[in-house]
């Protein structure tokens, strides 16, 4: 303002007044607070690596879930394609990519389920067997529960779309859901590194 004695025109100020979208801020801080939760579980896992007094130990029973990891990480890409298609009004492409995302997520959850089944029935590793079991099931389980929550919302969007709800009006919410999904994927990168690479 060149001349300080001239009050700024209130109308100009109101017109030029720009602030971030509240939903965006809300979802970002949800992700921040969730990251803080995961950080403690990850740190606990790291601290307890090699502290189990009895077997089975990670190197004996853990197989690296390569296929499941590829599925989950690529679902981040497909959910982006879906969101992009929706933003450009290509509803058919949106539905297709959305379905692929759900299929990939389901594949991941199935792989986790089968892994746990093998660990429990064949290797007799449960959450109470030893310290490794406690930290493994809680960290991977915490992540898997987040995948399940994301999956519920993905399915919700799919169903309302299939029943004819105009999902293109909810672009913003679809975007937030995709951010959450990216977050779940990013957490998996860390969990994967900690559990299957460092901890094995």
């Amino acid at each position: 303002m060149a001349d300080l004695n001239v009050p700024i025109d209130a109308l100009t100020m109101e017109r030029e007044w720009k602030q971030p979208d509240r939903g965006t801020v809300g979802i970002i801080f949800l992700i921040i607070t969730e990251s803080s939760l995961f950080a403690i579980f990850v740190a606990t896992y790291l601290i307890y690596i090699g502290k189990s007094l009895t077997g089975p130990y990670p190197k004996d029973v853990l197989d690296v879930p390569i296929l499941a990891t590829i599925c989950l990480l690529s679902s981040s890409l497909t959910v982006y394609f879906a969101e992009h298609a929706l933003a450009h009004g290509r509803l058919a492409a949106f539905k297709a990519w959305w379905l692929v995302t759900i299929a990939l997520g389901l594949e991941f959850l199935t792989a986790t389920g089968l892994e746990w089944k093998k660990l429990i029935t064949e290797d007799h590793l449960t959450i109470r067997t030893n310290l490794f079991g406690s930290t493994f099931y809680s960290l991977v389980g915490l992540h898997a529960s987040h995948v399940i929550v994301g999956m519920c919302f993905l399915l919700l969007v799919l169903f309302v779309t299939l029943f004819g709800f105009p999902i293109e009006t909810q672009l913003r919410r679809v975007k937030f859901l995709s951010w959450y999904w990216h977050f779940v994927d990013a957490v998996w990168v860390i969990v994967f590194t900690v559990v299957y690479i460092i901890g094995r």
Partner: protein, 559 residues
């Protein structure tokens, strides 16, 4: 009081009387930030009275050696529930309550960013609180025998393991506090989104009231440090219910890990608790000194610095555990570092008053009480940050006296200042200043009478959490004086309760702006209508109402 023409349009207030069921429904179903804020504060005050009664019983038990008021088991439950209640069911809802009520009004918004999330936060907090207290009925299962948790408010392992804590009382502690924590996180995300996205035109961050700044940093801290506590409690529940071994040393787990996780939350938590008092002082002192806040940018910098540093000092609660010398050195140095920004704040509040035209009404009296008592608390805090000093006095009454000086002498005094200041805004009527002064002096005398002697009892070696003690150790007179002080405190609190009940109905009508304030909440009617402002205000300086009242000399010319 300056009578001026407000360019802001006055909202109209509905005058119709509601029936009881209508009124009840309107409160239970409300998503209005002001009603939720008041419900937070009122429930916090009720829990405050409950936990205060527990403290009274504790002091009655300790007044004389070999006390027989309660037995050791009851005593353990009393101090556990007293601490848990005061931190999670009084301090935290006060944070949420004050920020809910005031942040939208101060930034010229019509509500919080997520009103329904806000209602969820309140009800889940209340549910958590009631769940914790349900342990008195069902703590040992629903067989008719109840017992509250008795593991202390920081619930150290292995006390919380199945072997040492049978029944369900520890589970009530873990789940009740976990659930109440979700409410705090919800409310904190809401405050952040509100301040980021809902400020009225012209309300830049540099013009945002100091109160909002402090609550913003506070909310940041809640979002970052509440989840570690939740994580710890989830692990504890996994240990107790599914037989996991997180804190089970016999299976290679670590009891110290619980301490780390708890204090990663716990130390920033005490700053989270004290911040509302900082926020309130930063509004009350300038208005009652008739001067703008001294060194505003430094105050903002200091609050952000406190927020940052406080996250790296947690292990000063664990000096006596036996950490490495390097850890002790780091955490001692980091803890002392907090003294610098806190010192900046104390000096700036004092400098705000220096040369000001002080109006010694009740709100300012409580602020003065805060300044002196919090200074003492800060000094004993620096003493305890010295690791060897802490080895000597860890878990002694010196520590008890220290943190009661921060949380009563600091937080509670600050909150009372805020209540006297904003009560007229919330109800339209002033609290009686005469009763307020009785309240202040009785509480101030009683508080100091209780907690100054406890420093000395601690220095003489009295450990905290003992249910009784033998005569002949030099602790008797200190404890007796401390217990007598409680009587004055109760008298002070009764003055306050009577003042609130009486003034809400028959107090002096306040008008919209009884203190000649400068922030936007005083621009709307008292109590404000549901939509706060009929037309959103436009702001040009950090004191928008000063600009309106003094068009010939507005602040925006100089900022």
């Amino acid at each position: 009081m300056a009578s001026i023409d407000y360019p802001l349009e006055r909202p109209k207030v509905q005058e119709r009387e509601f029936s009881f069921s209508e009124a009840l429904y309107s409160w239970v179903a409300t998503v209005d930030h002001k009603r939720l804020g008041l419900m937070y504060i009122v429930s916090a005050l009720i829990f405050f009275v409950v936990a205060g009664i527990m403290a009274t019983v504790i002091r009655a038990q300790l007044a004389f050696p070999n006390g027989h008021v309660v037995g050791p088991d009851t005593f353990n439950r009393l101090f556990t529930m007293h601490g848990t209640t005061m931190v999670f069911l009084v301090g935290m809802p006060m944070v949420a309550g004050f920020s809910n009520y005031l942040v939208p009004l101060m930034i010229g918004a019509r509500d919080m960013a997520f009103p329904r999330l806000n209602a969820f936060g309140f009800w889940i907090f209340l549910f958590g609180g009631l769940l914790l207290y349900f342990s008195y009925i069902g703590g040992s299962g629903l067989s008719g025998t109840g017992s509250a948790p008795d593991v202390g408010w920081f619930a150290y392992a292995p006390l919380t393991s199945r072997a040492f804590s049978r029944g369900s009382s520890t589970d009530y502690w873990a789940i009740g506090v976990l659930v109440a924590g979700f409410g705090s996180i919800a409310s904190a995300i809401n405050v952040i989104a509100t301040t980021a996205c809902m400020r009225c035109p012209g309300m830049t961050l540099s013009r945002m009231p100091m109160f909002v700044w402090v609550m913003l940093v506070d909310s940041w801290m809640i979002v970052l440090v509440l989840p570690p506590l939740s994580a710890g409690q989830i692990m504890l529940l996994l240990d107790r219910y599914l037989g996991a071994h997180f804190f089970d040393t016999q299976a290679g787990g670590s009891a110290i890990l619980w301490q780390h996780i708890f204090w990663i939350f716990g130390h920033p938590e005490v700053y989270i608790l004290i911040f509302p008092a900082f926020a309130i002082l930063s509004e009350v002192i300038p208005v009652f000194s008739r001067k703008p806040l001294f060194g505003r940018p430094a105050m903002v910098g200091a609050i952000v610095a406190i927020g940052f540093i406080s996250m790296g000092v947690w292990a000063h609660h664990m000096f006596a555990v036996g950490m490495t010398a390097w850890s002790n050195t780091f955490f001692a140095a980091a803890s002392m570092l907090v003294g610098i920004p806190t010192g900046i704040k104390i000096f700036n509040w004092t400098a705000t008053m220096y040369g000001g035209k002080l109006r010694l009404d009740t709100p300012l009296l409580f602020c003065l009480g805060f300044l002196l008592q919090f200074l003492v608390a800060g000094l004993t805090g620096i003493m305890l940050a010295v690791a060897p000093f802490d080895w000597q006095l860890h878990d002694s009454y010196f520590v008890v006296a220290h943190f009661h000086f921060t949380l009563i002498g600091g937080l509670i005094f600050g909150l009372f200042a805020g209540m006297y200041y904003w009560f007229p805004k919330a109800t339209g009527r002033l609290l009686s200043d005469k009763l307020g002064k009785w309240h202040f002096w009785l509480l101030c005398i009683g508080f100091n009478m209780t907690f100054i002697p406890l420093h000395f009892a601690g220095l003489l070696g009295m450990p905290r959490r003992i249910y009784t003690y033998m005569p002949g150790r030099g602790w008797e007179s200190w404890n007796l004086v401390a217990s007598i002080g409680v009587i004055f405190q109760i008298a002070g609190i009764l003055c306050f309760v009577w003042n609130v009940l009486r003034s809400a109905k028959r107090g002096e009508v306040a008008g919209d702006d009884p203190w000649d304030g400068w922030t936007l909440e005083w621009a709307t009617s008292s109590p404000p209508p549901e939509y706060n402002f009929e037309k959103l205000p436009v702001v040009r300086s950090s004191r928008p109402l000063w600009d309106l009242k003094h068009p010939q000399d507005p602040d925006w010319k100089y900022e």
